[in-house]
Symmetry: C2
Subunit: 314 residues, 2 copies
């Protein structure tokens, strides 16, 4: 049982696929280890950027077991376990807790739109009750641009009151700093850990009582982002923040998941990494070239990525 809660930079780890679109466990383990060795304090596997909802429940369970078998510490893991089906969310969450994961990052059920806070409360409460394990640390995943189902302040308040300690925090991917600020103001002092959903807000989040960020670009730029986390009280913090925001802005010109994979494929000299599952599509060669050229012009690099890739591809 992990005694310390996760903080710092977490990557929603991109999931590599073989050419037949099956999950590539070898590349997956390698990338997770690279991330932990290069600035990530934790891995929010099976997030939006992981194409997690393009994976079956069984595929996710196998990948999680593989990571732990291959030596990735469970204490560093915060898998996404929120599904449309209550039964799936319970199954994945129980599995993650049994494996010793530090926490789980839970989407609301996202098929039905315009559902009530009462319905969402019942969903999260049912999961917590059915998992029935004091080790569970549940982080709510607020990402209305994608899920279209928000986690409101009123819902958080009600869940925190009923399940203090278990409801451990939130990832705010609203892209709206005012919302993150409101979550910090309302709940940070009661031990509710707020993670920004993008490193663009990392310094602001740290200065207001937040715990770090869970960010797509943590997959490719974990060192520089971690530097902002480590040095948020240092005199050069604003300059460091400016640097990681600039890199983020380059990435955001492209569809994020395909872009992340294109960058790993390029800097790792491992073209197969570019594969995505439908309904996503990989970047065009022109997009990929334009993106990596712009990053190289900024002296962007992913140190150590080629060697590990080459070893395992051989």
């Amino acid at each position: 049982m992990p005694t310390q809660r996760l903080s710092g930079v977490l990557a929603p780890v991109v999931t590599p696929f073989k050419r037949d679109l099956s999950p590539d466990r070898e590349r997956y383990v390698r990338h997770c280890k690279w991330l932990l060795a290069n600035g990530c304090r934790g891995l929010a596997v099976f997030g939006t950027n992981s194409e997690a909802n393009s994976l079956s429940v069984e595929e996710r369970m196998v990948l999680l077991e593989t990571l732990i078998q291959e030596g990735v510490p469970a204490a560093a893991l915060m898998p996404g376990t929120g599904c449309c089906a209550l039964s799936d969310s319970v199954r994945l969450t129980s599995h993650a807790v049994a494996l010793g994961c530090s926490g789980v990052l839970m989407l609301p059920p996202f098929y039905y739109k315009g559902v009530s806070d009462e319905g969402l409360y019942r969903n999260f409460a049912e999961v917590i009750e059915r998992v029935g394990d004091a080790r569970l640390r549940l982080y709510l995943y607020h990402i209305p641009p994608v899920s279209q189902v928000p986690i409101t302040l009123a819902l958080i308040e009600r869940l925190l009151k009923k399940y203090p300690g278990t409801v451990a925090g939130v990832k705010d991917s609203s892209g709206d700093w005012n919302n993150t600020q409101a979550m910090l103001d309302a709940f940070a002092k009661s031990g509710f850990d707020v993670f920004a959903g993008s490193e663009v807000f990392l310094l602001d989040n740290m200065r207001n009582g937040g715990k770090g960020c869970i960010t797509a670009t943590g997959n490719i730029n974990p060192g520089a982002i971690n530097e902002v986390f480590e040095r948020w009280q240092a005199p050069d913090a604003d300059a460091l923040q400016k640097g990681i925001t600039a890199t983020r802005n380059v990435m955001q010109k492209y569809p994020m998941m395909a872009a992340l994979k294109a960058v790993i494929a390029h800097f790792g000299r491992d073209p197969d990494w570019a594969t995505v599952r439908p309904p996503l599509v990989e970047l065009t060669p022109a997009q990929s070239k334009s993106l990596t050229t712009e990053l190289e012009a900024r002296s962007f690099d992913m140190p150590g990525l080629v060697a590990t890739s080459a070893t395992a591809t051989a």
Copy 2:
């Protein structure tokens, strides 16, 4: 292998749950048989109104097998098999085809928003190729108000060209008659079967070359809706259409899925039917009373529902 394609009124069958929220197979079989005996020509099990996305893949498979074992003809079934995960869609579709179902009604993967037609094409094409069975009849499910991911005319055209015969039709739940009309104009003559997503458009759909409707309220009002289907060329068709539209309008004052279950609970004298899975919530007693009172004032009834319920509840 069914030789004839489905047409007429299909219900996206509501899924009953026990008090512990597990699927209630007995009530499910009973309701399906009542629907087929009272006007439905087919059952679009596992649709939006079935809370299908609140069920795991395994729960859906067990329910489908149960129906067939209990004597519901596979030729009458058009299960929903479109999931966010390609692997789930392939598994459910293969299962439905192997069981002899007439067709499958397929949502696009609905987690990621703003995906390209190319990505959606790849999704459907991969499912068709991986299922690899000439018996497959795939109906596309266009429901942008919920899925937020549309099935465009250009996507249909591309799929029809590559997979004629397999891509068999569409359910248009856009709520936009202009869109249904456009689908009819573009594809109905080439053997592409257009079902309206609501009986409000049934007569218009039939008059323009459509094949029927797949409608929520088919769960409670199948006889009257089927009468419009059967008599769409009769002199009183417009009057009949007016009647079913009026009933639909009563239902639409309430959250549809909870309202359907409240109506079945009331007219079947079987209160447990009201149960829904989170994130949905059942109607309040006041809502339920108001709804059923208004229906009774319109002489609405569900003949034969009480007897079957009483038998099986005993």
